[in-house]
Amino acid sequence: MSILIDSSTKVLVQGLGKTGQFHTDKAIAYGTNMVGAVHPSRAGETFTFQGETDHSGVPGRPDTYEVDLPVYATVRQAVEETGATVSVVYVPPPFAADAIMEAAAAGIELVIAITEGIPVADMIVAKRYLQGTDTRLVGPNCPGVITPGECKIGIMPGYIHQRGKIGVVSRSGTLTYEAVHQLTQLGLGQTTAVGIGGDPVNGTNFVDVLQMFEADPETEGVIMIGEIGGSAEEEAAEFVKSMSKPVAGFIAGTTAPPGKRMGHAGAIVSGGSGTAEAKIAAMQAAGIVVADTPSEMGEAMAKALG
């Protein structure tokens, strides 16, 4: 088992520009079942992806792959033709929120938005639009979601992952890679790794993912990686108190000066709220093993597992 995505997941890519093409190719090399693309100016074309298979991905595949991906003008057409249930958004920031809403309107169950730099006001509208639909949004401004050995959707390097028993959820892309890499080296591996993104308005939050990991029989422990800004980590810590599985964590930004946005739009300490200290204290009070530095996230997980 895993959460959100597995080997049967049919995936659409929205936005087949340079970045979209690069990562669609990597996803196919990993073994992800990419079934179509949405890119209005190239509708009707077929994109061929071919190369050497990434053998850190889905097992038992031939050494090379060649996949023809049909391109559609709208998500609705793509869903009708391919039966896709998940889409990944690489659409540029000015149009990305619209792409998310289009996917929801077409009945996509899970939209994973990678795009960084979407205006907050657009995300406020998109989030409002998603209310009352059955669509789950992950991101934006996130690395994506991966279930090792089955399905990779997003921009994470596949080879650092290994199928295992730990769930990973994080606001930071590169810190997710750190955690995953350490879990692989320690032989603990991952069930699914979910990047929820660094924006102040996002779809899926820590609590949503923690709930899914708690319910997933294969997941034995969870690493949650937060950062300064907002109160999502405090809310997550409150939820962790009710969990049966051990949780380890890390919070970035102990040395961040107040009032400055630290790269991520959501990473800001303002008016004394959203500090790393408050988050670490809340997490420790909930029994989460918090690592001192990111190099010790894997060890913290091992310690939490006992």
């Binding site: 970045t19 990562h23 920031p93 000015p94 960084e116 730099g117 979407i118 205006p119 907050v120 006001a121 657009d122 995300m123 406020i124 509208v125 989030k127 409002r128 690395p143 921009i155 994470m156 390097p157 650092i160 606001r171 930071s172 892309g173 590169t174 810190l175 890679y177 750190e178 890499h181 660094g198 102040p200 308005v201 990686i225 950062e227 300064i228 800004g229 907002g230 109160s231 999502a232 890390f250 970035a252 930004g253 102990t254 040395t255 961040a256 000066p257 400055k260 630290m262 790269g263 991520h264 739009a265 959501g266 990473a267 008016g271 004394g272 790393a276 001192d292 530095t293 990111p294 190099s295």
Partner: protein, 407 residues
């Protein structure tokens, strides 16, 4: 992006939101020339002169060069002495303010140079309130925040008397509804003309926040005048950087002289750089990892000199610029490059480092830790470059190595 008070008021006035009449000035003569038309237009012999800097606390702030002068000055000389007396006082104060350094609670002890003044009509103040529109992350919506405690720092009010903070959520589909504005008016103790005036004001403010993609509009104080009108005595506005592409007029209001030159250079190159006080320069991909790298340097006993996130899709050129910005900081005694490649390919980073060192030279120790996409190629480029690069196996290992080499 922050803008000045006078720019914010210009944007508000253009949307029918009441602000005092005022004129910006960048020279003593401009400030003096503003006095007569202001007094004649408003019929009030009192004028106010306000330093324009991107920091609050100006009313209590004082100038380094002359601590008797404050950041905001009310000039009453015109009441008895007429326009000429007001002009003379404005001339005296403008001379003391322009080009000098204003220190407020928010500027830090080094203060900020005042390059602009705003000369404004005096206002007959009956009450001072607080009003703001900002993002509420928990509900993923903008909210209106209001309080009867105008003129106070809102963080202090929130901490000491949280019951005095009023909130209304703005549904992006409807804007702030009339009844919500009315509830706020009642809760603020407004009635009659003042309530009517407030309802129009706050609904327009909520619309403006959405139209202009503001991160924050803060009116502190919002004043009720003796004749029952509300108006923005002060205005602070910050615009969502990610939305500036659709507001070229607002983007043009950017005042780079208010920002750190290195931060401006980084921003123009598409990099996220924030100058800090330490000695270990860092170049990292990803905001979370960049913060965590700073934290780890501190954890092993060092002090980070900066935050620098080269982003997910940086080019070799951007890496070179980042490197140049770090090495131009004289406090930097060592550089730690920490890359975990996802979108970012390690060979691109390695190429950028080699180019940067070849261009600007390297006078301090350099530790590089590479992991992720194309890592072998990246390591090969560094090894074959002949540069004096120390490699590290992990973030912590790298932080410890650079600290040892730099001290």
């Amino acid at each position: 992006m922050k803008i000045h008070e006078y720019q914010a008021k210009e944007l508000l006035a253009a949307r029918g939101i009441a602000v005092p009449v005022g004129r910006p000035a960048t020279s003593v003569e401009e400030a003096v020339a503003a006095v007569r038309p202001l007094i004649e237009q408003s019929g009030n012999p009192v004028v106010v002169m306000k330093a324009q800097i991107h920091a609050g606390g100006r009313g209590k702030g004082t100038f380094q060069e002359n601590p008797e002068i404050r950041g905001v000055n009310v000039i009453t000389a015109g009441i008895d002495g007429g326009v000429e007396a007001a002009e003379a006082e404005v001339r005296r104060l403008a001379t003391e303010m322009l080009g000098n350094t204003l220190v407020t609670l928010q500027t830090g002890p080094e203060g900020k140079t005042v390059n602009r003044l705003y000369v404004e009509q005096g206002i007959d103040i009956a009450r001072e309130l607080y009003l703001a529109v900002l993002l509420d992350r928990a509900s993923s919506r903008n909210i209106v925040m209001a309080s009867t405690e105008g003129g106070m720092e809102i963080e202090k009010v929130a901490e000491e008397t949280p019951e005095k903070i009023l909130r209304q959520e703005i549904d992006p589909g409807f804007g702030l509804l009339n009844f919500q504005a009315h509830e706020l008016a009642i809760d603020l103790g407004l009635s009659g003309d003042a309530a009517t005036s407030f309802i129009g004001f706050v609904r327009s403010l909520a619309d403006t926040a959405m139209e202009l993609d503001t991160d924050l509009i803060e009116i502190n104080p919002l004043v009720v005048t003796g004749d029952g009108q509300v108006l923005a005595l002060d205005a602070k506005m910050a615009i969502d950087d990610n939305a500036l592409f659709r507001h070229p007029d607002v983007a043009a209001m950017r005042d780079e002289s208010e920002e750190d030159p290195a931060e401006v250079r980084a921003k123009n190159a598409g990099l996220n750089y924030i100058k800090l006080d330490g000695t270990i320069g860092c170049l990292v991909n990803g905001a979370g990892l960049a913060m965590a790298t700073m934290d780890t340097i501190k954890h092993v006993g060092g002090e980070p000199a900066n935050f620098l996130d080269v982003g997910g899709g940086a080019t070799a050129d951007q890496v070179t610029t980042g490197f140049e910005i770090i090495t131009s900081d004289p406090a930097v005694k060592g550089i730690f490059v920490n890359i975990f490649g996802g979108i970012m390919r390690c060979d691109v980073i390695a190429t950028g480092i080699v180019e940067a060192v070849n261009r600007v030279g390297l006078e301090v120790p350099l530790v590089v830790r590479l992991e992720g996409t194309n890592v072998e190629e990246g390591r090969r480029i560094l090894a074959e470059s002949g540069l004096a690069v120390v490699t590290a196996d992990s973030l912590r290992d790298g932080a410890e190595k650079i600290l040892e080499l730099a001290s």
